[in-house]
Symmetry: C3
Subunit: 207 residues, 3 copies
């Protein structure tokens, strides 16, 4: 019970953080208030929406509009604050990593509850974690950042999802498995930023 | 009954108008007939499709293929006429505003019938009204026009959706509420074009 | 039975081919391993996913994760082979045409089983055949190749879908109709490549 309530509010915090980063990102493209808000909402709710559509569940923010209210309100606030003050995006690397971990774990859990096979469940976790950002970049007409050569992001999410699935398969309690998965995702992502850990990538054409 | 039939045919007209504007827009990108038709169909049916997926309803044009036939046929005609004659896009600002109003009101009503909470219902109205155009711009590899600084568009739709929700909450009859919402959306959009009413936007980086 | 098993494995082969072409395509954009894999998976599974969402069916790869495993495994292999050796994309024009034919026919059949009206069923076939490639191009931030002036592609798929629908309407056996549709799609696509058959397109603005 207490864990459920905790996860609910922590998920809400992740929605707020993603709405914020989405709105800040829209700055690159001379959008107006509505454009910024829609990009923020899509960033915050996009990953979970795609997961729910793929699993044929009720879309989470249609059933509980608190998510939508939090996303719109945060976006609004961010827009007017960021118009006045300069917010360095680096400030949000850690909240964004927390959001990634939370969304990934919540997405994997939802898929497992739906009896999705393990590889599908881990992909659902990754999709929930990263698709909001992919949508944000598509709407801003950029190549999605997560696809490009850079510090581990989707792979951190995938390892976190696999931690959850593995821990549950080893009969660890849901509470312990959840925390393990959150910590693994977060640590890998933060270590990747700190030590510039990257995956193999296509070589540049000019090599 | 008569209102239902009226709304049905008016919705069909909105589909035709959006197919037309979608096909005209594909001109910027050297597309061929199939590309133009697919962009036209996506513009005409995209908003309602996303709404139906999010609400877990049957997708409207899968259930009734008249919509698809109208979209394809209009797109076809537009392609061959526009290859021969120059059609100034300004000609379609008013039909497009009518389409926006119709799609928004139809989308909001569908969401309310589904017992969506009010903020969700208003967003469904906006999505139905503007997502076809967003899809068109994504398929043409542009930043969606509705996001950029410009005359009120999505905000006109949102105010229209809120008019419908407010009027129904005040126990006005569905017929009166519907007309009020259509008129509000249309007037705000046309006034915004006429008087160049815009929302606050990000300041340009060079300011 | 035997036909079902054949179609199943042939569909699996189409998934592998599309994952391969998706991964190769990601090369243009300096993506890393995860980016390439996600683009490959989206190319392989995107068309069928959109069809299943529109028809409100269970998404095929969520129900049977073999598809996902094949897509990921093929993508993985392709990435490491293509990093070392130069693979000319022309090599895959024929497998890609086979994939197009298979996906189109499988998509049309699925829609007919769902009692979709004929025009909708044919569009579902086309969507299943081409949407993976559209998604790949959107994720790579390009105008979708199928929309641009070029050899018949979506139109080959549509004619194949119509062949299936027509043959079934003439009471030909499902087996014969399926093969006829596969052959028609494949022949039109290959003939279009060989003889550079194109559709009418927008004239270039400079004409």
């Amino acid at each position: 019970m207490a864990t459920d309530a905790l996860l609910y509010w922590v998920g809400m915090a992740a929605v707020a953080v993603c709405a914020l980063t989405g709105v800040l990102d829209s700055r690159r493209k001379q959008m107006d208030l509505v454009g910024a808000l829609l990009v923020g909402v899509a960033t915050a709710l996009g990953g979970g929406t795609v997961r729910d559509l793929l699993l044929d569940r009720n879309v989470f923010w249609v059933a509980d509009q608190t998510y939508l209210i939090v996303a719109v309100f945060t976006g609004f606030l961010t827009f007017f604050i960021a118009r006045r003050y300069d917010i360095p995006p680096r400030l949000f690397l850690i909240p964004d990593a927390v959001g990634l971990a939370l969304f990934t774990v919540a997405g994997t859990q939802a898929a497992l509850l739906w009896h999705a096979p393990w590889l599908v469940a881990s992909l659902m976790g990754v999709i929930t974690g990263v698709f909001g950002g992919i949508l944000r970049d598509i709407l801003c007409n950029d190549v999605p950042m997560v696809f490009l050569k850079g510090e581990l992001y989707a792979s951190a999410a995938w390892l976190g999802a696999m931690t959850l699935i593995g821990a549950l398969a080893l009969n660890l309690s849901p509470l312990v498995s959840t925390w393990a998965a959150l910590v693994v995702t977060l640590l890998i992502r933060l270590a990747a930023i700190r030590y510039a850990i990257t995956l193999p990538a296509w070589r540049s054409q000019s090599d």
